[in-house]
Amino acid sequence: MKTALFIPCYIDQFYPQVGIATLQLLERLGCEPHFPEAQTCCGQPMANTGCEQEAQESYQHFVKVFQHYDYVVTPSGSCAYHVRKHYDVLEQTEAVQHLRRNTLDLAEFLLQVLKIKSLDARFPARVGLHQSCHGLRGLRLGSGSERNIKEYSALRTLLNMVDGIEIAELQRPDECCGFGGTFAIQEPDISVKMGKDRIADHQRAAVEVITAGDMSCLMHLEGILRRQQSPIQVKHIAEILNSQV
């Protein structure tokens, strides 16, 4: 099984520890993912702004870099969703179709491909789970509060494998944090307000750490937390799953 690691651009540049945790976790589970160095970005930031045209080059580049791997794993539900959902505008060559099937978020890869049932991880803290929207409603990593189906959450399943962790219950378990890519810049007032409200929910639940499957949501929340000088930390789920205190 040839697996590639796709590290979204903002993680590469600003949160290298998330990339490292993802890589180490996969290695510990017996996988040897390769990080093709020519990779850049899936093109989502441009496309969500309405510039699908300007994103094409990135799409083509992504396909070129990753087409020969069996799986592409990424610690971002949002990027995985973008490739699977929005690469429909490319000519549907075999390579494109293959990538649209096999670009997976880390949680999907752990549960559906590696089929892990347990983990050797320990993280003794009270944690609030932020269910990033594209993972939740795009990739269906959880049932979501809107639909009347059997309840499940891939991220919770994974967190439950961690020793010592305590998962806090929130009043609004899956409301958006307000990041939304360029929305954060185009509608800054609403974006920040949504983030503040999400944080208040986690604060009421007395969490020490907020985690999520998407670092972009956490970057936004962390920005507000630090402005508020709050002691609450943010950690990508890969960092928690990879911790062994």
Binding site: Q13, Y15, F35, P45, T49, S58, C176
Partner: protein, 455 residues
């Protein structure tokens, strides 16, 4: 029109009020969740409703003709209006023919869309909105801020003050029961004096030629039962094929809208009362154009329950008036650009694409996907500000060239580390308005990888 972000920012100036607005609507959303979870076959119902609507839209012309034929057979007079102006003209001519000067109207977003009230008032016809929320905003001279709860943006203190000024209730009174009673007494006069009653339509049944109107206050019935003339205004998309399909929609509608098992009144109108007249006005006003757009046609499945509005985290924090369109929120943001792309070009961007709207929608409209598609069209047709497009072009070039990308990242991180705070958080940095930037690490992931895995 001022763009959504500007009006949203103004709404957020009063944060406590924005919180109150958010909580009020979240309460409705939570009630909806509870009601939806009490029906085990909820998701099947949604699927069924979606398929019935898809089917109906696929042969809408046939069903509309069926509907007209059956309505005519029932003794109803049927009118077709191509646009808002035609709709208003037709209504006025009906009223003129019947010498009707006083009109009561139950809730109809279509007549709001056509701005019927203003038109009739110009022609010396008195129109009184009889839905309590609609009456309140009519008294204030405001448009509705929500399609199901038109006055949801107002607090009971404000309604108390308004009623004190206009209906002479006690000063400072805020008891909803007392205020509602005052409105009832006031509206009773209007009902008794009315020559004509206008209603909206929730469903029009092709098989029978009948229309169905759902209200909680019974005001549609009060109007139509008392007046000599009843007029029902409907968009072409209100059609469902058969009576047996109605139950699917009524089960979904009230639960999605307010969390009630059904609206208090579900009124069926088939024919005029003896000695009275019944008219139906069927309106296009841009709908057939929307039907012709493959990417957006299924927005016409909408049954106007308002669930997508209640769940929208942006709507809840910016208020209905920030959208500047009759239908606000996610569904408004996919319908209105079809009417005037330039004017409403900021609306498809008033979303994080979180997708909650599509998941609450009882007829499974892929609302957030349509928002995404409108964005592409807005850019293609040149309505995205030029600087933004230019930035995206540059970003696109950098992000598809590994060498440039790495250099740009390095430079940015170095700058962020080295520059004094005052420069980094200069007014141009919109991100920094309420948020810190991530602390720039010395090493990117790829640099670490090179050192630790490749050497």
């Amino acid at each position: 029109m001022k763009a959504h972000p500007i009006k949203a920012a103004a709404f957020l100036q009063n944060e406590a009020r924005a919180d109150w607005h958010d909580e009020s609507l979240w309460f409705v959303r939570a009630k909806r969740d509870k009601a939806a979870h009490e029906i085990p076959e909820w998701e099947q119902l949604r699927e069924l409703a979606s398929q019935i609507k898809d089917h109906t839209l696929s042969r809408l012309d046939d069903y509309l003709e069926d509907f007209e034929r059956h309505a005519l057979e029932n003794g109803v007079q049927v009118h077709w209006a191509e646009d808002a102006a035609a709709h208003n003209r037709i209504i006025q001519s009906i009223l003129k023919k019947h010498r009707a000067r006083r009109v009561v109207k139950s809730k109809s977003m279509l007549t709001e869309e056509c701005q019927l009230n203003a038109y009739l008032e110009q022609h010396d016809i008195e129109v009184v909105d009889t839905d309590l929320g609609e009456r309140i905003i009519q008294m204030r001279g405001e448009p509705p801020s929500h399609i199901v709860m038109p006055a949801i943006h107002l607090k009971k203190e404000e309604v108390g003050q308004l009623f004190h000024e206009q209906l002479r209730t006690e000063k400072g009174a805020t008891d909803p029961k007392y205020l509602t009673e005052a409105a009832r007494q006031h509206l009773r006069h209007s009902f008794l004096k009315a020559d004509a009653a206008i209603t909206g339509v929730n469903f029009a049944i092709a098989e029978t030629g009948g229309v169905v109107v759902c209200t909680n206050e019974g005001n549609a019935d009060m109007g139509t039962h008392l007046a000599r003339v009843q007029i029902h205004c409907m968009g072409i998309e209100k059609i469902i094929p058969q009576t047996k399909h109605l139950g699917v929609f009524t089960r979904l509608l009230a639960r999605s809208a307010t969390g009630q098992p059904s609206t208090i009144y579900t009124s069926h109108y088939h024919r005029p009362r003896p000695g009275a007249a019944m008219h139906i006005v069927i309106v296009d006003n841009g709908r057939s154009k929307q039907l012709s757009r493959p990417d957006f046609r299924n927005s016409l499945k909408c049954i106007r329950c308002g669930a997508c509005i209640n769940t929208c985290p942006i709507y809840r924090r910016s208020g209905g008036h920030s959208y500047g369109s009759t239908v606000p929120g996610p569904i408004g943001s996919i319908l209105t650009p079809g009417l005037d792309l330039k004017k409403y070009s900021s609306l498809p961007f008033a979303s994080t694409l979180c997708g909650s709207c599509s998941d609450v929608c009882p007829v499974k409209i892929d609302i957030h996907e349509q928002l995404y598609r409108w964005r592409q069209i807005i850019t293609r047709e040149g309505h995205l500000p030029r600087t933004k497009k230019w930035v995206m072009k540059i970003a696109g070039s950098i992000l598809s060239r590994p060498g440039w990308y790495e250099q740009a990242g390095k430079t940015a991180r170095r700058l962020l580390r080295g520059l004094p705070r005052i420069l980094v958080y200069a007014p141009l940095n919109i991100w920094g308005k309420g948020r810190e930037l991530p602390p720039p690490p010395r090493q990117s992931f790829r640099e670490w990888y090179r050192k630790n895995r490749e050497e």
